[in-house]
């Protein structure tokens, strides 16, 4: 009797870990591929590069992971950033148009300057978003809508409405090159994720971000510079989007102001939600987001490999959003699984409802009016 209760409590501890469900979904999705592609998990070595489905999932998912990591912190402060797709387009457009103007497109100094220019523009966009949200007190969804609408216009202005193609070896490395047998973008993503985790979990910064997201006014009163934190977070999110923009334009060796990063903001938000970060703010999990982004990319790959027509991709995605959100909703769990299960899983879901009864103004800033109890 005692042994069974300890195993069940261990099982409960495991299933209640915030990464359990996202990882379980990811593993399940990966396993779905095996009957269709028996060598799905095998990784081959060719030309001194590693090839395999797993490698390509990470490679193609890299921009999404980057954007989603930035988005996680913004969402943790109770905000949202819709402008990342436009920032992706602007960064790629600036970098590519600068490189295409060079006489020697392969010159390292020129490429570095182009990347610097692109990232600078991204950070400026982020600071502008942060300024509107933190200083002017505008709802994040609206404040970032401005750059979302205008940004693509700016990107098209930079590229003159054309798709600029470039031919630059050093620039190609970021999104399409290999280093130490692995795609170079994996190292970029690893670096950004590592820096984010260290900054947020080894310093007090993560705590401050969560405090601001929990209740911006209260955290300001206890002495946290909540406005500055918010501005920093938006700038960081835009920087991540900028790096993703470099990666996407580098992978295709082209800047497309109209289509680069299209819908990536929605995928990123989806990744954050799948990763278990509450959209109400006040709590976040960078690891969960990375897993969430991988889930989305695996879903896309799986749809390709099992031979479902690719156009149903979006329908699948919609189904995943709905299922994940329903499972996260305490009210849904209570209704469907009965009151007992709903109460039992309260510990797991506590992140979500706990943030809800916070200051109504802070919560309504995060998303319009969902804090009804």
């Amino acid at each position: 009797m005692t042994t069974s209760s300890t195993t069940s409590s261990r099982w409960r501890a495991l299933t209640h870990h915030h990464l359990f469900w996202p990882v379980a979904v990811l593993v399940l999705l990966l396993l779905v591929n095996v009957p269709f592609t028996p060598d799905f998990f095998s990784i081959k070595m060719a030309d001194g590069h590693l090839y395999g489905s797993l490698v390509s999932i990470v490679l193609f998912g890299s921009p999404l992971i980057l954007v989603a990591v930035g988005m996680t912190l913004v969402i943790a402060t109770g905000g949202i950033d819709l402008s990342v797709g436009a920032v992706v387009a602007i960064t790629g457009a600036l970098a590519c148009s600068y490189i295409s103007d060079q006489s020697d497109q392969g010159a390292l100094a020129g490429v570095l300057l182009a990347m610097g220019l692109g990232l600078l523009a991204a950070v400026v966009c982020g600071l502008w978003n942060g300024f509107l949200v933190a200083r002017m007190g505008i709802q994040p969804i609206i404040a970032t809508l401005i750059i979302m609408v205008a940004g693509r216009g700016v990107a098209q202005l930079i590229t003159d409405g054309q798709i600029i193609t470039i031919n630059s070896e050093p620039y190609k490395l970021i999104g399409g090159g290999y280093w130490l047998t692995l795609p170079f973008s994996i190292f970029v993503v690893a670096a950004v994720v590592a820096v984010t985790v260290v900054l947020t979990r080894r310093t007090a910064l993560g705590l401050l971000v969560e405090a601001v997201g929990g209740n911006a006014e209260a955290s300001r009163l206890v002495g946290i510079r909540s406005r500055r934190i918010k501005i920093m977070v938006y700038a960081f999110c835009a920087l991540c989007a900028g790096i993703a923009g470099l990666m996407i334009s580098s992978n295709t060796s082209a800047a497309d102001g109209n289509n680069a990063g299209l819908w990536i903001e929605l995928d990123a938000i989806l990744a954050v939600v799948i990763g278990g970060t509450s959209l109400l703010g006040g709590r976040f999990s960078v690891g969960g987001t990375v897993v969430g982004a991988l889930v989305i990319q695996t879903l896309t790959t799986t749809i390709y490999t099992i031979g479902v027509p690719t156009q149903t991709n979006l329908v699948f995605k919609a189904a995943v959003v709905i299922v994940v959100c329903l499972l996260q909703s305490p009210k849904f769990r209570a209704k469907v699984f009965g009151a007992r299960f709903g109460a039992g899983s309260g510990a797991k879901g506590s992140g979500k409802p706990a943030a809800a009864p916070a200051d109504p103004t802070a919560a309504s800033e995060a998303a319009p009016k969902m804090e009804v109890s």
Partner: protein, 340 residues
């Protein structure tokens, strides 16, 4: 128009300064947008008078070319007034164009049968989203995002390629002109104006309209007062879904084809029109007439850029963004003034 402004008038009567009263008036944003529209129209007149900008038909074309956007924006106005948001509008419009084109062209159904079906599907989609939002307390943003993916995906499921409509009833309907003496309007434009009038009546003169404002103003108070907030919320998303489907039908008439990529991102145009029209995004304050002016301003930007000729289409996006920014800041200053 003053039907819903009872609460501010009481407090305003105590403020002595006329300027303060003007700044506190909820109708000011609409007036500003209307003024902006007139100003822009004036600039257009002075610049392109020789190119026929002054002709009444140019003005009427604003309604013909933006009727579908007006209908979609009216639906979004309901949602935003109730404090929610609907991101599925553009996808729903695209889906309706596909659905209609597919049924009319590939299945050979008569248009008169397809129209109610499309409207029904739109309303049902909105109802389901509202149902999930209310019953499971998931944020509207996420639920309608799922709706966005779902309907865009369904477009592609119907067909990856665009379906052009050669049905005679569709083309005769699309080409029908309603003469107004100084010019003409298309059927789409007439329908959009009717929708606007109905929305105006519903929002300002019915119990349902007052509930929408009440829930957007303060959901908790509305609930404590015993308003059926669940039903109202679901109804608001149903209205938005219905309007999106209707906008999709108008768009189909306007463009006479169904394409899985039609109206991508139009939810943002609709939201922008509502915001520029002076509706507060936090809900509870705004007028559907403002939405009309928001749509007209966006349409005027497009036609001025067309008249300019040298400017390229991306300036539309930039101008929309700048205007959006300006109006959001104006709203912000007005709401802080009201609080203090």
């Amino acid at each position: 128009m003053s039907a819903t402004t009872q609460s501010p008038t009481a407090s305003e009567s105590r403020t002595p300064s006329g300027a303060a009263r003007l700044l506190g008036d909820r109708r000011l944003p609409v007036a500003v947008t209307a003024l902006l529209f007139l100003l822009m129209y004036g600039v257009g007149l002075s610049r392109y008078q020789n190119y026929g900008f002054g002709e009444p038909q140019v003005f009427l074309n604003l309604f013909i070319d933006n009727g579908y956007l007006l209908v979609a924006a009216v639906g979004v106005t309901f949602v935003i007034l109730s404090g929610g948001i609907d991101l599925s509008v553009g996808s729903m419009i695209g889906f309706t164009t596909m659905f209609t084109a597919w049924l009319v062209e590939r299945q050979g159904l008569p248009l008169l049968l397809v129209i109610p079906m499309a409207l029904g599907v739109g309303a049902l989609g909105g109802f389901l989203m509202g149902y999930v939002i209310h019953n499971f307390e998931i944020q509207p943003f996420i639920v309608t995002l799922a709706g966005l993916f779902l309907f865009r995906g369904l477009c592609l499921v119907i067909s990856k390629e665009s379906i052009s409509i050669s049905d005679s009833s569709v083309s005769s309907m699309a080409q029908a002109q309603v003469s107004l003496g100084m010019g003409f309007l298309s059927i789409g434009a007439i329908v959009s104006l009717v929708v606007l009038a109905v929305a105006f009546y519903v929002l300002h003169y019915t119990r349902f309209g007052r509930r929408v404002y009440a829930i957007g103003g303060n959901e908790q108070s509305a609930m404590l007062m015993g308003l059926p907030q669940g039903g109202t919320k679901i109804a608001v998303y149903t209205v938005s879904g219905f309007c999106s489907a209707l906008a999709g039908l108008l768009f189909t008439l306007y463009i006479q084809s169904g394409d899985p990529l039609h109206a991508t991102g139009m939810e943002l145009d609709a939201i922008a029109a509502v915001v520029i029209g002076g509706t507060l995004l936090t809900g509870g304050s705004g007028y559907v007439l403002g939405t009309l002016f928001g749509v007209l301003v966006l349409g005027l930007i497009k036609s001025i850029i067309q008249f300019e000729g040298t400017l390229s289409s991306w300036w539309t996006k930039i101008a929309t963004g700048v205007l959006l920014c300006a109006f959001i800041l104006v709203q912000r200053f007005m709401t802080t003034r009201k609080k203090t």
